[in-house]
Symmetry: C3
Subunit: 262 residues, 3 copies
């Protein structure tokens, strides 16, 4: 049993962080909230998403009876959760119909449907079969020597500028300076921010190259966050962390590096 | 002789209700105002439109002399009127040029031209030959057991949502509830409004299925009306009535039902 | 050596007057400011553009050393200037990145690059080889019997209206009336403004026909000017003059007439 009520704009903000990476995926519902971990079709980008139940105006969850029965010899470790397959692009379209402040959600596990209700308008979404969706990826164990916290808008603006130049972007730290650099056949773009122009910076000397396509997509997903934290290494994956839903939602994007040809 | 002056935005509002159904048609001009009745090329939707002369800032009309002459033995029933063929899409484009508050219209029946003047800008439109246009349709005699008056925005929003789902929509009344329902292969949308959530409702139990394409078009045509009245029957045409131009313009759309395959 | 600082919106306004005619061209930099003269690829339209150095917040220019050396026997007539080849469409894109008020420019003549810096964002543009660009056109000697100064928005609105009708437009003066006239197969548009509705008018009787494509493009380039001056003759080129950058920038468009087939 899952029933919940949430502000439409908060839920949209959350779903938009997901659709930046995947169109559909498996969401786990538990007593403490929602969770998702998914990789993009090309296995280049990953999202880990968590939303606390207390961001909902109402949130009621109980595991399936079958589970409850078998739970006779339950250990306290095992946590009851339900997994549903969701078309996030469709859900976003529904939430975008507009004119409503709040949406009610109600899961019919038996029929594999999610009822959504915004005012007098009810929308029944057929869930996707979780077994038809990609397996939840393992999060690789990574250690990031450098951490940079930057205003989201500064980052996004630079990404938009870089899109005019080429297909790749370098993210790096040189001493106490964080930089983003894109080079085309003719032109070159460079953003340089000193430690005092950033919210946080671990000094260091390293950089990695990434595909702009993916960072551009992520850049759209983070538009509601005020700041983001970049975890960086040398020729290493990029991890971008930020909060949504007034800090009750946590998003982490992971992006594989590109090999520099030079 | 026809000369008139009218607020540009009021005339646009009126023409937009017409272009929702037809691109061109025959308008009848008489002393008491303008009238049009037209069907769409596929014979599925019809519009009846009337605009009172007193919505115009100026309105001068006199029947053609030829008519006046033959009017020697005029009976008081026969009303003098002039019919002109108009490309409404073009007229809407002209009115949309912008920056002007008022438009003057002047008919040159002999040359079959309509002069429009907005400030210093004069636009001469060649009229269409009325005999080249479709005959004015007869309005079928219909009796509607149920009448529902609803806020236009509520109706339009539901139509926009339904477009994401399928090609058809059911409009019906179930006791004291009015509903709109669209079903796709996977999903289902339903708006339900109780009598107290509506401006008016005749209780009953009936519904009909309609093509969304046409209702979507009509939905655009009604955007300036605050509320609309739906006249419904069982597997019966839908009539949508509303007012424009501060109540001086009356529009009635008629739409043939679709047969439910089930 | 060329280094300058300027308000981003002012520079955009200037570049937009240029991209209305050409995508790329040669700009001459001298102590007193920037200059450009260019013709469109079809040799139908020409732009002369001048921007005074005092519109810049900072402006430092010195001719190349080589020139300075050979300048030993310099005559006071010869003015030191540097010519650079610029892709204006690209520059406009860079200035449009947004969020910055001021842009710094710095020319590296040796490397043929222009450094632009907006806040922490540096963008290096490779210059175009001036020898690969079209030669600067000679401005023909023209005498215009009639001059009309009109509010830009009135002119632009009429051009937009004319685009709905045909491919050409007549600009003319009939006594103390300035008019613009476009004729299609079916319709006709005419703007007539009496002397008192204009900022200035030289009375006369003449008109010329022009291609709307070019005037439409010019019309976009003049959008930041409050008024424009049209210099007209009988079957003669059209010259449109206006100011940008608070009067510190002067633009002159020249457009060849079309021969009236009638």
């Amino acid at each position: 049993m899952f029933e919940a009520k949430i502000d439409v704009s908060v839920l949209r903000e959350c779903i938009e962080t997901i659709t930046a990476i995947v169109d559909e995926g498996k969401i786990k519902i538990a007593e403490d909230g929602l969770k998702l971990r998914a990789v993009d079709p090309a296995n280049v980008a990953m999202i880990s998403f968590e939303l606390q139940s207390d961001v909902f105006d109402e949130f009621r969850f109980a595991a399936k009876e079958k589970e409850a029965e078998s739970g006779a010899e339950d250990t306290s470790e095992s946590k009851a959760e339900t997994e549903i397959g969701m078309d996030f692009v469709k859900l976003l379209g529904i939430l975008g119909i507009g004119g409503r402040k709040e949406v009610e959600l109600e899961l019919d596990e038996h029929a594999q449907k999610l009822f959504t209700r915004m005012g007098s308008l009810a929308y029944t979404i057929s869930l996707l079969d979780p077994s038809s969706l990609r397996k939840e990826p393992k999060v690789p164990e990574l250690e990031f020597p450098v951490q940079v916290t930057i205003e989201t808008e500064e980052f996004r603006r630079t990404i938009r500028a870089a899109e005019k130049i080429g297909d790749h972007i370098v993210l790096g730290v040189d001493g106490e300076v964080f930089y983003m650099e894109a080079e085309g056949e003719m032109d070159k773009l460079r953003l340089s921010l000193r430690k005092e122009q950033l919210i946080h910076l671990t000094p260091g000397t390293l950089h990695s190259l990434y595909s702009l396509d993916y960072i551009s997509a992520m850049s759209k997903g983070m538009s509601h966050a005020e700041s983001i934290t970049l975890n960086l290494g040398k020729d290493y994956p990029l991890q971008i962390e930020f909060e949504v839903a007034d800090g009750k939602g946590k998003v982490s994007y992971l992006l594989a590096p590109r090999i520099e040809s030079e």
